[in-house]
Symmetry: C2
Subunit: 168 residues, 2 copies
């Protein structure tokens, strides 16, 4: 898939065919995530892959969008290692760059994915569920599966002229 | 350029040939940035394009890495509109996804770019220099130019096995 075309054609996919996703593809998404840039190259991202339906059901209870987690073939929970952090704003930005790489990789691999953020309200509960030490803080859950159908999702963005404040 | 290949081959480029970068390519980078996902699709990113050498010199004084800003053909300053924000962590992540799209787009367009974050220590001064209202907060400066040479920059990342905490 062409890079620019991929950036423009990626959509949040919330309905899945049910076809299982090979673990190798999930690892490729994680690998793509790790190739994001980070301040001082501190790579503060950590990942938990959840394919098992029972574990997805347990995770699903912590968000209003639990149905997506249950319908997906897998979820990748993205954590930040607070011990690896050096600057809140820049580290959160690095996580965002990492998740974007994961979403783009999913798209390039023919998968559909969606970035779930509402679950952060239950950040501590998710950490406890997954039995992770306190230095790991939930940053996002990416739900993944094969897209249900080829119906093109519609999405909108402001025109460049609207978000370009000035030019010098 | 292939999407996955682009993710893995992108490097921070800090030396430039001096060949001017067409404004259309800078706008393409901004456009790619706007196609990042954001929570509630709030698109909190705003941009200032700085091609003029005098203005780049003025900007350069606010960071230890000013030489890169002066050597580049252009800079794109990325701001967040605090009035468009809804959640600090998620909005900073969205900015990170936006900047990553910009860097990947630059790479796909044959340009070299680097994400400058150290300048955030002078966030208020940069806002004042560019005469922007207080609701705009500097998030990053992306320096852009044609890469000086085709010498492959080396970069390292932790192996997936190192950052994958658990699997279920």
């Amino acid at each position: 898939m062409d890079l620019l075309e991929g950036i423009y054609s990626r959509r949040s996919i919330r309905s899945y065919s049910g076809q299982p996703v090979d673990r190798a593809l999930l690892l490729e998404m994680v690998r793509a995530g790790t190739w994001a840039p980070s301040g001082l190259n501190n790579q503060p991202w950590r990942f938990v892959i959840i394919q098992d339906a029972g574990w997805r059901r347990r995770l699903a209870q912590f968000t209003h969008y639990g149905q997506i987690i249950e319908a997906a073939s897998a979820c990748i929970a993205v954590f930040i290692d607070r011990e690896a952090m050096y600057n809140e704003i820049k580290d959160y930005q690095a996580i965002g760059a990492c998740v974007q790489n994961m979403l783009l990789a999913a798209h390039a691999l023919g998968l559909g994915a969606v970035w779930l953020g509402e679950i952060l309200k239950s950040s501590a509960e998710v950490r406890t569920l997954l039995a992770l030490p306190e230095n790991f803080e939930l940053m996002a859950v990416v739900a993944v599966g094969y897209p249900e159908a080829q119906n093109q999702q519609v999405s909108h963005r402001r025109e460049v002229a609207e978000v370009l404040l000035k030019e010098f």
